[in-house]
């Protein structure tokens, strides 16, 4: 029989201070991460806000979002008034003031006008890549979740998915460059000198030439799609497997074929989940720079991708500007000065808002989906 008094403590509970110490130090580390994230976001918002928000209605500087990207000219007129004009307006100014001398002229590449070109390019790249990846990824996931049994083939597919997911993005850049830019087949009547293989098609002079798509929208989309494929497959397979087995059994028991079962009883229920997780994939595709550096992106382009095309399909083989690559150019290739800040912080803020909306959107959708779908 114990002495009951030992159950009553004298002073603080055992390890009380140690407990508090550990809790506080671990907690402060955790909140430090949050603090850094918030500070980072705040810094960009504070510095970038002047570029895209204005005090007047509609409170957003539409010009920054809708104008093309241009070189910024900064100069003083004879009276010492400073002008900051993008190239097109600068030329107008010169025409309007013939004979005037201008002083202290400086030019800042990419710093004038807006960022409509990069936004459009990123939108096209993302759209193309996600469409490709969803098509192939969901199909592959259907096979893995609905048809596959244990076999060496499935084992290899899973191994390939696992490895693809780990490959650094720059290696995808090398891959996209050597395959999509330089090696995939095209149909042409003038094969290039460096074509790897030319197969005559026996129709006029046309032949199938393995010479690649050059640096173009479609090469970029294909590279990004390959990179994102494992993410889409894994997420889709998870969504498919979340549909209860009973649904399938019931459908098959009614005499439906497997494909009918999948189409009518599995896909409709897993589609919301697939789309939600592909939102996250979109943030990743939109944010990647390394894979598109050599496959699709250009730093400067005068026209929107869809302008000046003879054939609407030519858009696929044109190079585009892209927001992440634009930010890279702004950060690395031009000197930092007070005149470039608007373009730099403005672009980053727009990009960050885009990413934040997408990623928080996917988080909220996911939470809703979990609340709604309870089998």
């Amino acid at each position: 029989m114990i002495d009951p008094d030992i159950l009553i403590r004298k002073g603080m509970p055992k390890g009380y201070f140690k407990d508090i110490f550990v809790r506080i130090s671990l907690g402060s580390v955790t909140y430090l991460i949050l603090l850094i994230a918030v500070m980072l976001f705040a810094k960009i918002v504070i510095d970038g806000a002047p570029a895209i928000f204005s005090s007047k209605f509609p409170f957003v500087d539409m010009e920054f979002l809708t104008a093309k990207n241009e070189t910024l000219h900064v100069f003083d007129d004879a009276e010492g008034t400073r002008h900051k004009l993008p190239a097109s307006k600068y030329n107008e100014y010169l025409k309007a003031h013939p004979g005037d001398t201008i002083y202290n002229e400086k030019t800042f590449s990419y710093s004038g006008g807006g960022i409509a070109g990069p936004i459009a390019g990123t939108a096209l790249l993302t759209l193309g890549a996600i469409m490709l990846a969803l098509f192939f990824g969901v199909s592959a996931a259907i096979y893995l979740a609905e048809y596959a049994k244990q076999s060496p083939f499935i084992h290899m597919v899973r191994l390939a998915i696992l490895n693809l997911a780990g490959i650094p993005s720059i290696v995808f850049g090398l891959f996209g460059f050597s395959v999509f830019v330089l090696a995939v087949p095209v149909i042409t009547n003038m094969p290039s000198d460096r074509s790897l293989l030319v197969v005559p098609l026996l129709i006029n002079d046309f032949c199938l030439s393995f010479q690649g798509w050059n640096s173009s929208l479609m090469a970029g989309c294909a590279t990004l799609a390959c990179m994102i494929l494992p993410v889409i497959i894994t997420a889709s397979e998870e969504s498919l497997r979340a549909v209860p087995q009973g649904f399938r059994d019931a459908s098959l028991a009614m005499g439906a074929t497997r494909w009918q079962t999948i189409r009518k009883c599995v896909l409709p229920y897993s589609l919301p989940g697939i789309l939600t997780s592909s939102l996250l994939a979109i943030t990743r595709v939109a944010g990647e720079t390394a894979p598109i550096m050599f496959t699709a992106a250009v730093a400067a382009k005068d026209d929107f991708p869809w302008e000046g095309l003879k054939n609407p399909l030519d858009i696929l083989s044109s190079q585009v500007q892209a927001l992440p690559y634009h930010i890279y150019t702004l950060a690395a290739r031009i000197p930092n000065s007070e005149y470039t800040q608007r373009a730099q912080y403005g672009s980053v803020l727009v990009f960050l808002i885009l990413v934040a909306v997408l990623s928080f959107g996917s988080m909220i959708l996911r939470a809703k989906l979990r609340a709604k779908l309870k089998w």
Binding site: M1, I2, P4, D5, I6, L7, I8, R9, P13, K14, G15
Partner: protein, 263 residues
């Protein structure tokens, strides 16, 4: 309806005294006004259909239910050796050392057999190797496991069979020399042979410890317990000597249950 000594004053010679305990998980009340005394150095069994609150009740005795958010004793009191376990200055860690618990599913840590047994001592601050060795041997011997594991004390606990693992968990509990051992369906996950060994062990252990056992298995209750409490829908229906409960139940629900009419 309850034939228990409600008016017995709180005293130190009763191991556990439960008085008018109401308990709820959030808004769902699972124990209704439960009152009973558990005598020292006897085996007390709790029987009843699933969800009747018997596990919840014994989990209140060492306050392990504190881990579950929103679960709490809303009224009533529990005394262990005359000390109210809900008082402000209770030494919770000491209480849990003194009121050990064996769980339904055997749950040794991912450590060696030896480290599992001395875990309770280590966290209590015992560092001396000789002391730990001695306690480990004693606990394993008491748990009837020493001869089976003495040659592989430092191998993983997961290498043992299910019954051995459960006995290891019992050794882990008795290594800290508790006073009361709570057993929450200790044989639920075991095969009949292993169950038999545990029951033999319980009969051995009751010489030293006060044992409270929750069981589904009525024959187990008759085989090992001195006193039996029957619970139903969160209420204590009947409590008395095991012989009396099984041979001459005073309540029709108890009779229906032990004759297998429901449950």
């Amino acid at each position: 309806m309850v034939n228990s000594p409600t008016e017995t004053p709180v005293s130190t010679d009763r191991a556990v005294q439960i008085r008018n305990v109401n308990f709820s998980y959030g808004s769902k009340q699972v124990l209704h006004d439960v009152t009973l005394d558990i005598p020292a150095n006897q085996v007390t069994a709790f029987i009843g259909p699933s969800g009747c609150g018997k596990s919840t009740l014994i989990r209140c005795i060492n306050r392990i239910n504190d881990r579950i958010p929103a679960a709490k004793v809303t009224s009533g009191s529990i005394h262990v050796h005359g000390i109210d376990i809900h008082r402000e200055d209770i030494n919770l860690h000491e209480l849990r050392r003194r009121v050990g618990m064996v769980f339904q599913k055997y749950n040794p840590f991912a450590k060696s057999i030896y480290e599992n047994v001395v875990y309770g001592l280590r966290i209590a601050g015992v560092k001396k190797r000789s002391e730990l060795d001695e306690a480990a041997e004693k606990a394993l011997t008491n748990a009837a496991l020493w001869n089976e594991v003495k040659d592989r004390l430092h191998t993983s606990a997961f290498g043992l069979s299910g019954g051995q693992q459960q006995r290891l968990c019992i050794a882990r509990v008795i290594a800290t020399e508790p006073d009361i051992v709570l057993m929450d369906e200790p044989c639920a996950a075991l095969d009949p042979l292993a169950t038999l060994k545990i029951e033999e062990l319980i009969n051995e252990l009751k010489k030293k410890f006060t044992i409270v056992i929750v069981t589904h298995n009525m024959s187990q209750a008759t085989r090992c317990s001195d006193r039996t409490a029957f619970m139903y829908l969160g209420k204590l229906i009947e409590y008395g000597d095991t012989m009396q409960i099984f041979e001459n139940p005073g309540n029709s629900q108890t009779e229906a249950y032990i004759t297998g009419a429901f449950g």
